[in-house]
């Protein structure tokens, strides 16, 4: 655990203390927080607490914050010639890999949680007759969805980064993967009519929290798969010779 923390410390330190890029990271974090914590809830009003679609729709937004970080994780180190030195240390493979994934997940998810709490605070100040808060089931489902979503893309991003020569190449690969996810819901159109109807029926029976739990479950399965692939691909010898 201590080794994982060390890698996380390094990742965050590098991300926030570098002069130019550090300012960029802080700025993008601030923009997301303002958007999620103030602008969107103020636009939505009280419905922010009662219409779960709004919350679910924005819960995945911090994924974008982690993309740069995860694609840079190994490819960036390879590009800057720091990877070999890192691999020549006593750190176990698990610590390096999990440290890099967790650093980006906690950053992205942390921003999501902070944004959700901030939005509640903003609306409580703005609206009269409070206190207002999310229904507990909805809030937990949104948290779970956000975590699973961030973790999945962090895992896929690290996977893309492990074999990429440059961070840019890793980013391009991850963009392609994201494109697949984007078009996935549309692929339902390709299914036979009776299957489409059956799926619609199942989803119609679910409430929003239930739907979010189902999606989270699917994402968690994806997470396990991505993590498994990351561990399989992480071999010191191959990272240096490929």
């Amino acid at each position: 655990m201590r080794d994982i923390q060390t890698i996380m410390w390094k990742e965050w330190r590098e991300m926030f203390t570098r002069k130019a890029a550090g300012r960029g990271t802080l700025l993008s974090t601030l923009v997301i927080l303002l958007l999620l914590g103030a602008f969107l809830p103020l636009q939505t009003g009280e419905a922010w607490f009662t219409q779960p679609l709004a919350l679910a729709g924005w819960a995945w937004m911090p994924v974008f914050l982690t993309l740069g970080m995860v694609t840079d994780s190994f490819a960036g180190e390879r590009e800057r010639h720091t990877l070999e030195t890192l691999l020549a240390t006593r750190l176990p493979d698990t610590a390096i890999l999990l440290g890099k994934i967790l650093a980006s997940v906690l950053y992205g998810w942390g921003v999501a949680v902070l944004g959700m709490c901030l939005s509640a605070l903003t609306l409580n100040i703005w609206l009269k007759g409070g206190p207002y808060f999310y229904a507990p089931a909805l809030f937990l489902a949104a948290l779970g969805l956000s975590l699973a979503c961030t973790a999945l893309f962090a895992g896929l991003g690290v996977l893309a980064s492990l074999r990429a020569v440059t961070a840019r190449q890793a980013f391009q690969r991850l963009s392609l993967i994201m494109l697949v996810f984007y078009f996935l819901p549309f692929s339902v159109q390709l299914l036979p009519t009776h299957l489409r109807l059956r799926i619609t029926e199942v989803f119609a029976r679910l409430d929003m929290s239930g739907l979010m739990i189902v999606v989270t479950g699917v994402l968690l399965i994806g997470n396990v798969g991505a993590l498994y692939l990351c561990f399989r691909c992480f071999q010191r010898t191959r990272l240096l010779t490929d």
Partner: protein
């Protein structure tokens, strides 16, 4: 613990089934010495370092580093070694202090000890005042120094350095060599360094090995290697006739004896120019009525030894 910090046994690493980067390498590096691993570019020096650190798996053979097998105990090896590889491997966006802090944490140095050690090393290397600056703004020489500080941070038993002065100007390289020699003495560690800078090897190393195309060509102290390659003995003589010179060549070997560019000068190429072998030549000459005025021994430089070894290796290949 073994008397050897490193012992390789038929160590071999092949890429794509036909490129022999390291070929049947048998090497013993005694503990506590500065060992130079010399070779031209592409000789297999960096691959050997990677094998010793367990970053690459050997295709055949093995290596025992600090008593641990590279095949099965690479983690233990990496925990007890410090390394400065092909690149400095510094996080250039971080400050010097943060870089050392990171590697202190990686090596699990307790907080107080870590801070003391960072201060000691940075002060020793005259980098303390600039510790808060991002490494990216530093000169190459300063970065190399910092990378050495990083490698020494956890007091490793073995320091592996891949061409530590490569790319530095003469002044920076000399300063770095001086620092390295001092730190090695202070810390009492074994240093295994690869280089193609022969004067560096001569100044720093107690023992050197020469490698070409992955094969070990020679090993020993720089003095031993120079002796091994013989050297030249110059004799300044009077009364040397063509007949005597011919007789000398017949007795001591045609290739070994060369008359000098001017009369009265004989150049001897002796495989092992011991005092006895030189004395026998002098005695023989005196018996022939030649008076010997001066005898002096010109030893081959390490560079000459290296070049002749590499050329021989090429010829054999």
């Amino acid at each position: 613990m073994s008397d050897y910090a490193i012992r390789t046994v038929h160590l071999t690493r092949t890429f794509n089934n036909h490129i022999h980067a390291v070929d049947d390498l048998n090497l013993e590096v005694p503990a506590g010495v500065v060992f130079g691993f010399l070779g031209p570019n592409g000789a297999g020096k960096t691959t050997t370092l990677r094998l010793l650190l367990g970053l690459l798996q050997p295709t055949a053979g093995t290596a025992i580093v600090l008593g641990h097998d590279v095949r099965t105990q690479a983690d233990a090896i990496r925990a007890r070694c410090g390394a400065l590889l092909e690149h400095t491997g510094l996080y250039e966006r971080l400050s010097a202090e943060d870089n050392l802090e990171l590697f202190g944490r990686i090596n699990r140095l307790p907080g107080d000890e870590r801070r003391t050690r960072i201060r000691q090393l940075l002060t020793d290397l005259e980098l303390w005042k600039r510790r808060h600056e991002p490494v990216a703004t530093w000169s190459r020489g300063m970065k190399q120094k910092l990378a050495i500080a990083r490698a020494l941070l956890h007091r490793p038993a073995l320091l592996l350095l891949d061409e530590p002065t490569a790319g530095l100007d003469a002044v920076s390289a000399a300063a770095l060599r001086e620092d390295l020699a001092r730190l090695a003495y202070q810390e009492g560690i074994t240093i295994f360094l690869t280089t193609h800078n022969l004067s560096e090897a001569e100044k720093l190393c107690q023992q050197v090995a020469v490698i070409r195309a992955g094969r070990l060509l020679a090993v020993g102290s720089p003095q031993e290697l120079r002796r091994f390659r013989g050297g030249q003995v110059h004799l300044v003589v009077h009364g040397l006739t063509p007949g005597v010179l011919d007789g000398l060549r017949t007795t001591f070997g045609r290739e070994a004896v060369e008359s000098g560019p001017e009369d009265g000068h004989i150049l001897l190429h002796l495989a092992s120019p011991s005092p006895q072998s030189v004395a026998s030549v002098v005695t023989w000459l005196v018996h022939q009525g030649v008076s010997v005025e001066e005898v002096y021994h010109e030893q081959a430089s390490l560079e000459e030894v290296f070049l002749s070894l590499v050329q021989e290796g090429e010829h054999d290949a």
